[in-house]
Symmetry: C2
């Protein structure tokens, strides 16, 4: 039999309204009675029921998170950013994995909305018509993180994947490379796949370098597919001299493929990854990459969501965070920069 606000009120000889006031820090309570109430709360071990509070106040101080996979280092870091800011604003997070499965995503969003979360943070590969539809049925704010709404109807925070990829490839071009490989993600993946692919293409185009289909391999973001993609390049007569790999895990695979073939990184082939996950500074040679502020994406997205939830004035509809070329040892030093 859990003890309720009534029990406290009775024991303290006040009304439940007063107890409610001290629990919620309402200043309109005489210090003496506040003290009395606090003491009996302590004595009885009263623990306010947040569910009842939620029903009455229509606020749960809980936000929902839909994410592809928490065991993916990248997302784990984003979630850490989210949770830190959430806890700073006294929100809890309900976390759910979607495996990038649209059915699952929609169902999870629905469940979260039923649980009356005060806001929702969505991360997923693609935002479809169905997503937009269910987003619109929500009566709470929704922010997309590391995800883009092509229709610009919902706020999102992300980096500019196109430009980031373009920067990476232009760096290779600037240091004289013409034979530049790409180990990409599935082109059906809008951001990490297609946008980065487009960036690669544009950089070559701008430099007047013809696109060579032999220099493009599609992977699945896993280590093995990086190995495999690079082994293909190594089998070519005319191998690329530099390879841009669209995520770090595959990039590490690519490095190992080169080393296993008895070649040297960066002397024989330069490699640049993408993301800057912890592993990139735990391999030899240290991986040069394009850093993406994972923690920051989560933190900013959550902060953005609190603004929407508190109806603070929002200036921008979308936040684009900055990426950065991180030069370590899998690319040669560029003295001309």
């Amino acid at each position: 039999m859990p003890i309720t606000i009534y029990d406290v009120a009775r024991e303290a000889g006040v009304s439940m309204a007063t107890v409610s006031r001290v629990v919620n820090g309402n200043p309109n309570v005489k210090p003496a009675t506040r003290k009395k109430v606090l003491e009996t709360i302590e004595r009885l071990g009263y623990r306010p029921n947040a569910v009842a509070r939620g029903l009455a106040s229509k606020k749960t101080t809980t936000v929902g998170i839909v994410i592809p996979d928490i065991s993916n280092t990248f997302f784990a870091e984003v979630v850490r950013g989210i949770e830190d800011i959430a806890s700073m604003y006294h929100y809890n997070i309900i976390l759910s994995n979607s495996d990038n499965n649209v059915e699952k995503e929609l169902s999870l969003i629905n469940t979260l909305l039923e649980k009356q979360v005060d806001g929702l943070l969505f991360m997923g590969g693609e935002v479809t018509e169905e997503h937009l539809h269910i987003f619109k049925t929500a009566s709470v704010p929704i922010v997309l993180a590391a995800t883009k709404d092509p229709t610009h109807q919902f706020p999102y925070v992300d980096i500019d994947h196109f430009k980031a990829a373009k920067d990476a490839v232009e760096d290779f071009i600037l240091s004289g490379h013409k034979k530049i490989g790409l180990i990409s993600g599935p082109l059906t993946d809008p951001l990490m796949g297609f946008d980065r692919y487009k960036g690669y293409k544009k950089a070559l185009e701008d430099a007047g370098v013809a696109l060579n289909e032999e220099y493009i391999r599609i992977g699945d973001y896993r280590y093995e597919s990086g190995l495999k993609g690079m082994n293909y390049f190594l089998s070519l007569e005319d191998k690329p001299t530099a390879v841009f790999v669209v995520n770090d895990e595959m990039a590490v695979g690519a490095i190992h493929a080169i080393q296993d073939a008895g070649l040297n990184v960066p002397n024989d082939i330069e490699i640049r990854g993408f993301d800057n996950i912890p592993i990139s500074s735990m391999v030899r040679p240290l991986l040069s990459t394009v850093s993406q502020p994972q923690y920051g994406i989560g933190a900013v997205a959550m902060r953005f969501l609190t603004k929407h939830m508190n109806q603070e004035s929002i200036t921008e509809k979308t936040v684009i965070l900055q990426h950065q070329l991180v030069d370590r040892d899998s690319t040669k030093r560029r003295d001309n920069r």
Copy 2:
């Protein structure tokens, strides 16, 4: 103005009790009226309010998770196991990071309990008197994962860290090593620190090998401290010929320290890590380690919790999962095994 069960009842021309029945799958409803209700639910876009339901039914179908740090690969994998099983049983999880800070842990547990979670999964370095105290004030089941209750009052699921470490060191001994180093975690850390340290000590003792303090370094589980610990060993006149490192991240650091010094793993020094996180199969040489079923720990702990929540009959108070020596390339092949 969100639409409620009343709206549906009115529109469908039935009572709210009937709507409640169809929503909850109660069989005592004539198929015809069930159909009618279902249709108007669909038409109105009715979404049951889980908070109200929670208040009335005293169940939230939500469990609380307290974890040191979700951005740590090990815990991320455990949480993935938890969430998969949770979603299988239609539970959602509220996730919170404690950074192994006791104050924070206690406060988080309290918040979770206020939110009326149906159960709690706790992961932390140590279980103190204070933890036990607050656990006892909870009216819902609590299970510890990857954590041990020394007083055996609360159920937990974990591996046998002592035996695992002992096995690892005995393997070195069996293959002829006498000079065996240890890069440990803080000895104040009960499981990963102290138990593994004891296992190391016991293995030496059983083999009649004297303990050499010079061969023991304390790290903090991070890559850099693995580097540092190994650099110390390398500075010794009489270097260890094999080193047991109590987690993979430090083990990778140790390998790199050896390689940076121009020596070879495993020919000059053998290395074995602990945990078997993904990175251990993404480095060269591939890291030999002691595998710990991270996903399984999470999954089993969550399943265990559902049993407690559903008052199913529990046979065992505690679950010890099996560890395993995984031999890859940072240890020499043992042909005599």
